[in-house]
């Protein structure tokens, strides 16, 4: 079954008296356990599409079904609920709460899901172990390296066991070596059966995905399977 089913969506912004067509006519289906990279130059509508996919924004026209529910007709509260339960976000700038330690950052979505504190703690700990931060649970973001911060963010994204993980330039703020470590982490998550959508403008990052969707001027330019995708090898020294 499709997790994501987008049919002919468009998004128009009003900037002053001008209309900006961020997305013109985009249709896209994504199945469970896919690894999709969305690519495109700036201004291609890639961020807008990501906001749509992440249920942060609703389309001006067209249909968006998420796991069979119609997102286009949802209220703000319903969207918040979907984001909380079904989507795990990973941002370029990590977006961690700077004054809270790693475990509290990971617990945050569980608080909004209404989960009691004992279970929250347990699940957050497990998620941090899964991303390899067993020894860093009580550290605050400023006591962690960039790569470790992004791992905390990934733990926060997977802790709710969402239907999709939406990563927006996850390696954009990291050096290539650390970036590669994060891509190894994504690969592991993918191989456990999760669905990952990766937004990037870096070709070599996109090559980790099994499918690449290219956008240009608010339209899909191409949508191809990757024949032999790049599978990063965990180096013993790294983890």
């Amino acid at each position: 079954m499709n997790i994501i089913n987008i049919e002919h969506i468009a998004k128009i912004y009003e900037v002053g008296s001008e209309q900006v067509h961020a997305l013109r006519d985009v249709s896209l289906k994504i199945d469970k356990n896919e690894y999709v990279a969305i690519m495109g130059p700036s201004g291609s509508g890639k961020s807008t599409l990501m906001n749509m996919l992440g249920c942060l924004d609703t389309p001006t026209s067209g249909k968006y079904d998420f796991t069979g529910q119609s997102v286009s007709e949802m209220t703000d509260n319903d969207l918040a609920k979907i984001r909380n339960k079904e989507i795990g976000f990973v941002f370029q700038t990590f977006n961690l709460l700077s004054r809270s330690n790693a475990i509290h950052n990971v617990e945050l979505p569980l608080i909004y899901a209404g989960i009691a504190s004992a279970e929250r703690r347990e699940r957050a700990e497990q998620a941090l172990i899964d991303v390899g931060l067993k020894d860093r649970m009580d550290h605050k973001p400023n006591e962690l390296s960039g790569g470790q911060r992004q791992r905390v963010a990934v733990a926060r994204a997977i802790v709710t066991r969402p239907s999709i993980i939406l990563a927006d330039e996850p390696t954009g703020n990291l050096d290539s070596k650390t970036g590669e470590e994060i891509m190894i982490l994504f690969n592991e998550i993918y191989e456990k059966g999760n669905t990952i959508i990766l937004v990037t403008h870096e070709e070599y990052i996109a090559e980790h995905a099994a499918r690449i969707v290219r956008l240009k001027d608010g339209l899909i330019e191409s949508d191809k399977r990757v024949e032999n995708r790049f599978i990063p090898k965990p180096r013993a020294a790294v983890v």
Binding site: D76, R83, K85, L97, P109
Partner: protein, 411 residues
Amino acid sequence: MDIILFELKEGLFIALRAIRSNKVRSILTMLGIVIGITSVVLMTTAINGIDNSFKKGISALGSDVLYVGKWPWFGNTEWWKVRNRRNITMEDYEKFKELAKTPIAIAPAVSSNKSVKYKDRTVDNVFLTGSNGDYVKTTNFTFDLGRFFSDVESKSSRNVVVLGSEIAKNLFPRGDALDKEIKIGNENFKVVGVLAEQGSFILGPFNPDNQVYVPIGCVFKYFMSRRSNSIQINVRASSPAMVAQTADEAEGVMRKVRGLKYDEEDDFSINQQEALMQNFNSVVGVIQIAGLFITGLSLFVGAIGIMNIMFVSVRERTKEIGLRKAIGAKRRTILAQFILESSTICLMGGFIGLILAIILSMIVNQFIPTSVEYSAVVIAIIVSLITGVAAGFAPAYTAAKMDPVEALRYE
């Protein structure tokens, strides 16, 4: 219900975390509320204290007593109309006493100012009341030592004196006043009684605690001329319910005593404590309104401080709000988070202010009586809570309606 409780609990944790991570700012903001609540509570307790002690003072005098005098205590009667009234004399008193049937006690009273001395201790400007043995029946006096002077003593103008508690304390710190000879002006008087403390500090010089009582004949003999001074007649009704009727009777009797014709106006005034009370209440009312307005203003300034800081805080945490929304915080959750934060600051400030006010009022209590009432505590808590919610609402609402996409992009 469970969900709301859960959100409240978690919201409170988030609020406490935010307050703790911005300690200096939170404390400075809190200070505005602390000062506001302290001054409001202190103001109400001071007014309460004054009010209570006034009522207590009045009741020591007896609320069912009428004072027939030459002049009215209050009112709009023009000065020139009352200026030429005849004095009320002891003869008037005697006739009045004969004719009035309903009062349970009638006593004359004159007053003067004298210094009182015992050995090397002196109290100047003591309010001296001269009366007879019936005077005590027109009051609610109780005694620490001895008794009031008797009719026999007053009729024969014996040099005997009853001391108010404060005077006794000043002259006889060891409490051994009874049967001692003291000097009033230049005359010797023997102490026959000491009043228990009446606690009517608000009455100032009229406070029985600061007075001495001697037979009326002595006053005329030593301190002032009988002819040129008017006396007052204190009339006690048989019960508070009878005050109005007794006042009517007193007016009729007094007109007869003074020989007034039917078309002549009263040349005397019947004064009641009620008038005193009304006057006092209107004064206290004005003080209360003015005081609450001024202190309320400081609370208002504190509230504006909170609102200001909350706006800054919301702006500063735009990105955090965006993130919280992205990972599933609903509008009402964000709204609740910020309102909880400002209410928590206000409530903490309220508690601190309350404790400060209680301590301060204990200190002030050494000079003028104050009383922190249960209601003031409840009001302080409620007011600070309302302030927090009101001051936090607008900033919280701004936060709640932020668009997550734009908030996340905010730098």
